[in-house]
Symmetry: none
Subunit: 403 residues, 2 copies
């Protein structure tokens, strides 16, 4: 089941002019710097977030479940109200949707890396020295449009060494293994069928890889490709169907734009900075009733182990908050799709602080938006997928359940 | 389903050299002494537990669910990460496994008591005056190895008045009622088939009981037997399969050893005192990556209604803690399998305090390991079966879920 209580939400949701802004500070949750005992969020000077926390209601969310470290896809799906375990989205589909690729029913997508192999065919750099976007686009043009065994290959650049490849043909199955060995010093793996339905898929993928090897031979460092995440688009009910919302996504990174599209959001054209995203929000504010505003910098800083840059990004978001409040949305939710503690240099399982503000939120004693303070928040410690029903309720967009 | 998210845990678990020690103070949770307003745990002087609580993260766990008083089997299964409602383990199987009985597929086991009946056949003592282990073994030898209607009877001593009987034959069903009336002054009950498949089983059990009555006639006070908990071994996925752990159990009581064996732990030879259990932990520390260390005294004291002895047992465990910390495990979890308040003289439904310490636990403001303080803990109030995923995460033994 892709959504717990899908029918319940569908039954009680109603259209109304009220507006919800969901601000996702990617990887918001952190761990304390041993020197100060304070997390990134606790270190940041956040007068605006703290004031909103005082007026609003806070809590902690588990994205997938206690102990489980979420990827970005389950992280966002949970925030949009979908069951993150029930709807798995393949890596290939995410890449394709994230570049506005127009997927047809039956298409199989894979994530591709241009990579470097040595004379023995062993991978020496899984990212081909992170070639430029331009080089990537040029190499994709060389591979794009080939037909192998009646399967059309559509190869599209993503950014740097990354591309998406879509296999379009009859009765292809996504149940094929990765060719990406996820390490250097070894040869790319053969793509194998995970069941007999995927024999064609695996054979075609291996022929494509062989062909790419020939075509790229003289294009060192990008002289080979690695494929992973063969997948098909899931059929998710849209947020329009479930919540009767007209939702919009303001996100600059392909993956988040792709995720938003999969749940039926209008993905708005926007610049990448927080200021540019705010401008997009203002410009489109009249046209939608739900806005997903994605701030990537917190996660990137956490992934890089850069505690201070994560602090600064949070402070930047804090300074942007009054502009969002100035639009007077009925509900503001501020949270993250997972924790990315700078100390761990990656996603983690730690619960994520959440702040919900509305006129009707029943405020709690929390006066600071932080991991520690949110432990005592009025929302308690809840699954992330419950945030959307709470936001909808606070926007007075849900009718009574039962007589 | 024996385990929620079994496939999820299996998919994200990975082997690593990090080590987890789970200390179960059986029946840990309590109720306040009306004179002091403090529970057993709050009365005990526990400087080491309190210090670890300050560095760690605390919370409360519900074993089966709010209001439900767990037996020892669901209590421990939940702590090992299994769904305590989805996998019921019969009493007979627990007894058999707890004495290292080598169960074969199809075997039906029952828990037996030697008991005393009067000249009218009414039970006067359900435990036959708690005969010695030696007497128990001798009487079991008299009953063991009989064959009734092609069913072989295997009768093994447990301790004092307790024994296990295993029925080995073709197509036996465990759906048979107890002969133990659970009270004195009445006759043992007839074993009845709970459905038509169990007719053979009930008939054989009644013939065995009749035979035992004859054989034991001159062995007052152990002149009769009572059987209960006819059951078959459940097929549980092992902790090795689910978590890729190499787990070991350090427990002296048969039931806990049996439970540990059912989930695939290596059950280590150990003495019964906390000091002997610690010695076992130290001696085997290099050979395993997960240790379940069981301390029985807290529960026994609670069952006896002995508040002060429960306090002393907790203090004894507190003094042992530095020795566990000295081994520098990556994760230490300290909790109970249920509450056993001395005031109630038995298991209860009250949630159990839990303390988790790791380098990555994101500490909370709790500075005392107690029922009251744990209410405000950073783990919140969670189902016990979520402790294992949290312990695994804190040991960095889980990979990311989803792209």
């Amino acid at each position: 089941m892709v959504m717990d209580n899908f029918n319940l939400m569908k039954a009680v949701s109603r259209h109304s002019p009220s507006k919800i802004v969901l601000v996702v500070l990617d990887g918001l949750g952190g761990l304390p710097d041993p020197a100060t005992g304070k997390t990134e969020l606790e270190t940041a000077r956040t007068p605006n977030l703290d004031r909103l926390a005082a007026y609003g209601i806070c809590g902690l969310i588990d994205i997938v479940g206690p102990g489980i470290t979420p990827g970005s896809a389950p992280g966002h799906l949970a925030l949009f109200g979908y069951d993150p375990v029930g709807c798995i989205i393949g890596r290939g589909i995410l890449e394709a949707v994230g570049i506005d690729f127009d997927l047809k029913p039956g298409d199989i997508a894979a994530r591709g890396n241009f990579c470097t192999t040595d004379k023995d065919g062993l991978v020496t750099d899984r990212r081909a020295g992170r070639i430029s976007n331009e080089q990537c686009a040029e190499l994709c043009r060389l591979l794009d449009g080939q037909v192998i065994d009646n399967v059309k290959l559509l190869v599209c650049p993503v950014r740097e060494h990354r591309f998406a490849v879509v296999f379009r043909g009859d009765s292809l199955s996504p149940d094929a293994s990765d060719s990406d060995p996820q390490q250097t010093g070894v040869a790319p793996k053969e793509v194998t069928a995970l069941n007999s339905q995927a024999d064609n898929m695996a054979a075609t993928a291996n022929k494509f890889i062989a062909m790419a090897k020939d075509i790229l031979a003289e294009h060192h460092p990008a002289n080979m490709v690695l494929l992973r995440g063969f997948s098909q688009a899931p059929q998710l009910p849209t947020m329009g169907e479930v919540y009767k919302l007209k939702p919009a996504a303001i996100a600059s990174y392909p993956m988040y734009r792709g995720l938003a599209k999969l749940v039926g959001m209008d993905v708005l054209k926007t610049g990448a900075s927080i200021e540019e995203e705010l401008a997009t929000l203002k410009a489109s504010y009249a046209n939608h009733d739900f806005f997903f505003l994605h701030i990537k910098g917190t996660d990137s800083a956490g992934e890089d182990g850069n505690f201070q840059r994560k602090v600064l990004t949070i402070e930047q978001a804090d300074r942007a908050l009054p502009q969002i409040q100035g639009l007077e949305p009925d509900v503001i939710v501020i949270t993250g799709d997972h924790s990315t503690p700078a100390l761990l240099k990656g996603h983690s399982w730690h619960p994520v602080p959440v702040l919900l503000y509305s006129k009707w939120c029943r405020s709690d004693p929390v006066r600071q938006f932080s991991e520690s303070a949110c432990i005592s928040g009025g929302l308690g410690h809840i699954p992330a997928k419950q945030i959307m029903p709470l936001a909808m309720a606070n926007a007075l967009k849900l009718t009574k359940f039962g007589a």
